[in-house]
Symmetry: C2
């Protein structure tokens, strides 16, 4: 299996300085900062939303894989992630990631119960 | 603390279908696929490199925070992440994330030993 690469760079102190994140494929490179990490309404990224995208993406692909193994082709699977960052003592930790999945699949009567169970999957996380 | 959002969408079966990932800030939106997940040399992203960017970014910012608390402003901190995905039984798991950090900091004599210890930090991961 390939080892996936990514990198981070920071210049300056915590509050006034700024960072950049880059993934190995080249698909994404962009800034992040103290402000984009902790405040709402920022256009720069933060580590938590990248983990959210990874988690939603992995779950969506895993669900597709399970369906494909049974010969079922989904029209569309759509998953949202909500990543909760909390201050615990002097440090920060992701305490919860909530995934919500909707699946549009033709002729799903036989499998509908199982999918409903997966629709509101909630994934508690260990402290990072 | 804000709850960070992200989303994933998949259309079609596992091998021939394709997905998209998007982060809540709007800083990144792009495709991912079975091929970009498991093969080398792909221009599309995969969940593992997003986790790598998040991990490298978080560690770099945390190191900056510790330095800033001591009144030390780094010129540049640079961290690379290597994320190892392995097949374990019928499933896949991230078995290791390796972070390598270099720091350029003026007048670091007093703190150099501590930083050297952090430079080759290796972070074993639990099965996701």
């Amino acid at each position: 299996m390939p080892i996936r690469k990514a990198e981070a760079e920071w210049k300056g102190n915590l509050v006034e300085g700024a960072g950049r994140l880059k993934v190995g494929s080249g698909a994404f490179e962009g800034p992040y900062s103290f402000k984009s990490r902790l405040e709402e309404g920022q256009s720069a990224t933060n580590p938590e939303e990248l983990i959210g995208a990874a988690h939603a993406g992995c779950f969506t692909m895993a669900l597709t894989a399970q369906l494909s193994q049974k010969g079922i082709t989904p029209n569309r699977i759509y998953t949202t992630a909500g990543v909760k960052l909390d201050k615990i003592g002097d440090a920060f930790a992701i305490t919860r990631i909530e995934l919500q999945t909707e699946a549009e699949i033709s002729s799903m009567t036989r499998h509908s119960r199982r999918l409903r169970l997966m629709r509101s999957k909630t994934v508690p996380c260990r402290k990072l």
